[in-house]
Amino acid sequence: MSQARHATRRRGGRGRGEQAMVPDAEFTSYYGRPVIREPVWRTPDVPGYLFLGGLAGASSVLAAGAELSGYREVSRVAKTGAAGAIGLSAVALVHDLGRPGRFLNMLRVFKPSSPMSVGSWLLAGYGPVAGAAAAAELTGLFPRAGRAATVGAGLLGPAIATYTAALICDTAVPAWHEGHREMPYVFAGSAASAAGGLGLLAAGLGLLAAGLGDARPARELAVAGAAVELVAKRRLLARLTGDGTRNLAEPYETGRTGTLLRVAEGLTAAGLAGAVLGRRSRLVSAASGAALLAASAMTRWGIFEAGMASARDPKYTIVPQRARMPAATPDPARPTPGPA
């Protein structure tokens, strides 16, 4: 005879000496099966898309700002980076579809209730503009149209870099959904940090003819972005812990994902320090830029994997839902047992 009522009490974490942040509550499930379905979104397609979309959008911000203030060299790097990143991310998106040949069906309708629909239209507008900005820059043709495209991409870039937060949070995945108030700031910070990091890396590698001083806009964006990312991630985890009745920070803090996100945080902090202190060192600038880029990618991977883990284990669906429900008392609105 099988035991159907699993009052499953588990050990904290998944081995490797990890400690669960919240003691596991007793909960009941159907043979330990997940309640919600694990997303069919795959690695590296979707976390790669989250990273590349952020890098592209914020690079367009950097390109527009740098172009308007006369930092042509860094603007060139950012435009090229934006076009390359958004091209790759479009490939990742189409590749992740169950029926890739039908990707154009995304543009059958426009639905504000679907972040993926909004994102598809944003991409359809942004992609060609960012591509045109880069093409004009690299070929030297149509400079005025190129400048208009640079500004246009700079206007759409912030939306491209942040809508993906709504994309993953507008789901039943508990570790994403419950973080919906903080996730857009994490993504904006991570995107800015990556775009600034790309500029710093290029400057450090000597790709800017005017030298390190020409990287100033990239350096400022990197510093601001990294700072926002560090603070927003902490606030995200605080939200997911709540008053201690929720266990949703756990998937972010335990196992391989926990390690990944801790390393990402360390790299962000190191990149931030390097960007501030290494103004005169090409080596430090390049290393800081690379660290920020890597940290941004690892952050997106970690957030993606934490959500997947929270979907796989029924405790992350059931325990927070139970915690927000009133204690089981007879409902006066319902018929009560007793003599008729």
Partner: protein, 274 residues
């Protein structure tokens, strides 16, 4: 737009429509025969999706999926000797798509493949779906799924083709105990309230209705249930809330974050190079 709890059928654009229909699944009379599973597979020509023995009592379909649109759960629950000769009570329940009033899968579908029919049910148009998987991730019940063979999302249609010709869905037709009841939602809700009241009178204290209430987190289910224990015992979420209720807040925060990036562009642009 985000679907609302008022008349979801009219909101979907069906100005004149038949009464909203659905399922009332009364698990207290389910005998676990799986006729619903078989009838659904047969009528809808749903492909075979694995012939395995799960070890989960008599449940070998394990859960709803792209090719399992009715699923019978089997729970062997230890109870006191006084309640049962052998110390066990059987809970059996036929699960199905809830055809939510506020339907997350429908809200998030970017292609319009998912739509609300004139009967108030939620159906995937297979020739439109591009397999993006957003509905799979949005459903609070883990119902809709992507089929490996064709890459598209699939789930219960509440036998849309049968409804159109005045027939009841195959599972309800096949159910030998009327555990699965089909009909206008208003009538089903009334019948369910009487049934749960009878069960309470008979001493079944833990009997309760699930997803019958239009004020719940999904605006009430088009398919709802009478359960004999907590929802999670059956693999159902205790307090499901449609994710798109929070979408306006998400867009607000996205707008503020995007505004921050825009401000960064302006700030960078205004600091002319020396």
């Amino acid at each position: 737009m985000v679907s609302g709890p008022a008349d979801p059928v009219a909101r979907a654009g069906h100005a004149e429509h038949p009464p909203r229909v659905g399922f009332f699944t009364d698990t207290s009379v389910c005998i676990g025969c799986k006729a619903c599973e078989v009838a659904c597979k047969t009528w809808n020509e749903v492909p075979e999706d694995g012939l395995v023995l799960s070890g989960m009592s008599y449940d070998n379909t394990v859960g709803l999926g792209a090719s399992t649109w009715r699923h019978v759960a089997f729970i062997e629950q230890p109870v006191s000797e006084a309640d049962s000769v052998d110390g066990v009570r059987w809970l059996m329940a036929s699960d199905v798509c809830k055809h939510c009033t506020e339907s997350a899968c429908l809200d998030v579908c970017p292609t319009g493949a998912l739509f609300r029919t004139e009967f108030g049910t939620v159906v995937v148009q297979d020739d439109v779906c591009n397999g993006c998987g957003y509905c799979v991730t949005a459903c609070p019940f883990g119902v809709i799924a992507r089929r490996e063979q064709d890459g598209g999302a699939h789930k219960c249609t509440l036998c849309y083709d049968r409804l159109s010709t005045g027939m009841e869905p195959a599972c309800a037709k096949a159910c030998p105990t009327d555990s699965i009841q089909f009909g206008p939602l208003d009538e089903l809700r009334e019948r369910a309230r009487l049934r749960v009241s009878d069960l309470h009178d008979a001493g079944q204290d833990k009997a309760r209705l699930y997803l019958d209430d239009p004020s719940d987190g999904i605006g009430g289910g088009g398919a709802f249930f009478l359960l004999l224990d907590e929802p999670e015992v059956y693999g159902l979420p205790p307090d499901p809330v449609v994710t798109t209720r929070d979408l306006p807040a998400m867009w607000r925060h996205v707008a503020v974050a995007a505004g921050g990036l825009f401000a960064a562009a302006v700030a960078l642009g205004m600091r002319r190079r020396a």
